[in-house]
């Protein structure tokens, strides 16, 4: 019988069959052998100019075909930037600047989100746009740019003031800063440990020395953490190789609050639900985590969110010893992305230990067969690629 927590997975399983196939913008598999690329560091200005003109004309099919060639040469920033400004100078206009900035953005996406190259390309585009007053047409560009590099959220705020869309990247940025660096799917090494009120009282009774030595994997509710900080404010300035559990707890509650605010405004914001769930995992709150993963699964519009909600939910079940529900959740994840290695490697040992040796072997044999399936967990910090494509289409739409 499915328990209350498992019901989300059961429901999700039932939903899977009826869902329309999601459009997958990322390659479904990972190439096995590296092609022998010879990278060029020179910029063919005429070709770049032609590329910009193609983009300006809305011929995105041709652009998509030609653009990857340029992504390999953009590390030569100055020449690339010079090529864009030369094209704008041929007939200066707000539209031309937006086109040039958008091409830089497109190449940034091809390059890879969150890489130095991508960040540099976003910066080049941003500099071009700042040469003119802010315009509504520019907003989708900045939102998409924030999807590529989260730190761009600050630029958006400066240029436009507060508006809703970049809040998720900003919250993710906070998550990035506060998430423990030793994270694994199952949290081995330093699994978070919850301290109840009595344990916190004991720490408080020990005074400042006790507060200053709370291990980094201890978690407590916000009020308790704030009480301890009030008793020993120096804990916030503590310099040590391991962060203090009091400080980590406050940081993670801030992340949780950021996501909670987002899902309160838009309960269907599945990615925020997903990340709220993982934040609860880090806070050693498994029941809240499972509830958030359940909600993320139910409101998921993309393969990325649905798969990760089930995978991470399964990991929580396994951590708390609910193996049957973990197995169910991992199986459900594999219905979303068949052969995905993270769910396969999570599930197979459980099956093996349950005596289902043949199924475990079959599962792993499939998972490692070339080409292997692209695994959404590899994009956890790079965010949902399908969401990026939506923003990216909005940029193209704004130019029409």
């Amino acid at each position: 019988m499915c328990g209350r927590l498992a019901s989300a997975v059961c429901l999700s399983l039932a939903l899977v069959g009826g869902l329309e196939a999601q459009r997958t913008q990322i390659p479904p598999t990972v190439p096995s052998v590296k092609p022998g690329l010879v990278e060029s560091l020179t910029i063919d200005r005429a070709a770049l100019s032609a590329l910009l003109t193609v983009y300006d004309a809305g011929d995105y099919a041709t652009f998509d075909q030609r653009a990857p060639r340029f992504s390999r040469s953009v590390p030569n920033w100055l020449l690339f930037q010079g090529g864009l400004t030369a094209w704008i100078a041929q007939a200066p206009s707000a539209r031309r600047r937006l086109v040039a900035a958008s091409v830089a953005l497109e190449l940034a996406f091809i390059e890879q989100r969150e890489t130095v190259t991508a960040q540099q390309l976003v910066e080049i585009g941003c500099v071009i746009l700042k040469e003119q007053p802010p315009s509504p047409a520019e907003r989708p560009w900045h939102i998409a740019a924030t999807e590529i590099t989260r730190s761009h959220a600050a630029h958006v705020f400066i240029r436009f003031g507060e508006f809703a869309a970049p809040h998720l990247p900003a919250a993710i940025d906070l998550e990035v800063q506060r998430a423990p660096s030793l994270e694994t799917l199952f949290g081995a090494g330093t699994p978070p440990v919850w301290l109840d009120a009595a344990a916190v009282e004991q720490i408080a009774a020990g005074g400042i020395p006790q507060i200053m030595s709370v291990p980094g994997n201890r978690r407590m509710d916000r009020a308790s953490a704030e009480k301890l900080v009030a008793m020993a404010p120096e804990v916030m300035r503590q310099r040590s190789s391991e962060p203090n559990g009091v400080v980590v707890s406050i940081g993670l509650w801030n992340v949780a609050d950021a996501y909670r605010r987002l899902v309160e405004n838009d309960p269907a914001l599945a990615e925020a639900q997903l990340r709220l769930g993982q934040t609860y995992v880090r806070l050693a709150r498994p029941a809240e985590a499972v509830a958030a993963f359940r909600q993320a699964d139910l409101s998921a519009e993309t393969t990325y969110v649905r798969y990760l909600a089930r995978l991470l939910g399964g990991a929580v079940f396994e951590r708390v010893g609910r193996r049957a529900e973990a197995i169910l959740a991992f199986r459900a994840a594999l219905t979303v992305v068949p052969r995905a290695q993270s769910a396969s490697f999570a599930l197979a040992p459980l099956l093996f230990q349950e005596g289902d040796r043949e199924e475990a072997a079959d599962l792993l044999e499939d998972a490692i067969k070339q080409p292997v399936a692209a695994d959404p967990i590899q994009n956890y910090w790079n965010r949902d690629p399908e969401r990026w494509w939506r923003q990216f289409n909005a940029v193209r739409q704004a130019l029409r």
Binding site: T115, T184, Q341, S342, Q353, R357, L364, V372, N379, N382
Partner: protein
């Protein structure tokens, strides 16, 4: 023990030289659970031949058992070679490929080989096949990220479909810097208890990178039980704004995790070769020479069988095997078995 072990025992007895049969007829016990253990016996570097059941002293969870049968046979072997083609071994990829070819060269036509490559993902680059042609195509390099899923690859090698006609050997050639695995070290340990595959790990490392090679060689001054890496943003991951590139990734391997992995090899009857943690100056392991030795040893092992008596019928059983007149150091056998499933 399970159906697989019983079948293995039956086939080995049928195909092999049943030294017991030369002395007394086999005794079949109705409903008995036969346990099979592979035991290598050496004096110095030379295998000891001609042993009979009475030469073996075996305890199961500390309870002395009667060895019923001993066979000595060159059985077909399935070898899985796990090669590390992640970013940290980029400087020695050619050597790893060359060594892998030489390793395959030792196998006999009756043996099967499979090659599994590690990077961010685990790739079966050569599916399991009979060793008919020695010059199998190996990949130049992988593309899926440059991180290392070592434990995942080992699990993929340990969890195999039962085949009672064959014995299984896994040799993982890696620098040990696991940054990406889903499977935790404790799980590898648990699987090692239940798997009938023998696991060997050979640590290799690129020249001049003393700090990134073996377990504990992080070069970041970590003490026992501490993570060995510098935290997020280290190395190539510094290109990324997140705590790590893309997904959950750890640039650290805990010494305790390494110890578990090393214990897992011993549990299966295997071993590890190369630098232990903290021993940066240790001699490099020659993966080919290691394989040649252990393959010889493995194919010349005794298969010892007994029916457990006066012990629990499920759970983990500690197994201790001794041989009269042979130093314990010359005996290699798995350290136990998991009964019940």
């Amino acid at each position: 023990m399970n159906r697989h072990v019983r079948l293995l025992a039956a086939l080995l007895v049928a195909a092999g030289v049943d030294v017991t049969a030369q002395q007394k007829p086999p005794v079949f016990r109705s409903g008995a659970t036969l346990v099979t253990a592979s035991v290598s016996v050496k004096k110095g570097n030379r295998p000891v031949n001609g042993l009979t059941p009475s030469d073996f002293i075996l305890t199961d969870n500390g309870v002395p058992q009667t060895v019923e049968r001993v066979t000595f046979e060159e059985v077909p072997i399935d070898v899985t070679v796990v090669i590390d083609l992640s970013g940290s071994t980029a400087g020695i990829v050619d050597e790893i490929r060359r060594d892998t070819r030489r390793i395959i060269g030792f196998l006999r036509p009756i043996d099967k080989v499979r090659v599994v490559a590690i990077d961010t993902y685990v790739h079966e680059v050569i599916p399991q096949q009979l060793v008919e042609k020695k010059d199998l195509a190996l990949p130049v390099k992988m593309v899926s990220g440059g991180s290392s899923s070592i434990r995942d690859a080992i699990v993929a090698a340990l969890i195999t479909r039962p085949d009672p006609e064959r014995r299984r050997l896994v040799v993982a050639i890696t620098d040990g810097a696991d940054t990406k695995s889903v499977v935790e070290a404790a799980t590898v340990m648990e699987l090692a208890r239940r798997s009938d595959t023998v696991l060997h790990i050979v640590f290799v490392r690129p020249p001049g990178i003393g700090g990134f090679g073996g377990p504990g060689l992080g070069g970041f001054g970590a003490g026992p039980g501490m993570p060995m890496g510098p935290g997020p943003g280290a190395g190539s991951a510094a290109l990324f704004a997140g705590p790590a590139a893309g997904s959950f990734i750890r640039r650290e391997t805990y010494v305790s995790e390494w110890d578990l992995l090393l214990d897992a090899t011993v549990l299966t009857g295997g071993a590890f070769y190369g630098a232990r943690h903290g021993n940066v100056g240790a001699a490099e392991a020659d993966a080919v020479e290691v394989f040649r030795r252990l393959f010889d040893e493995f194919r010349q092992s005794y298969v010892v069988q007994f029916t457990p008596e006066n012990v629990a019928t499920d759970g983990w059983h500690d197994l201790v095997v001794k041989v009269k007149g042979v130093d314990d150091k010359g005996i290699r056998a798995r350290k136990g078995y998991f009964a019940g499933r």
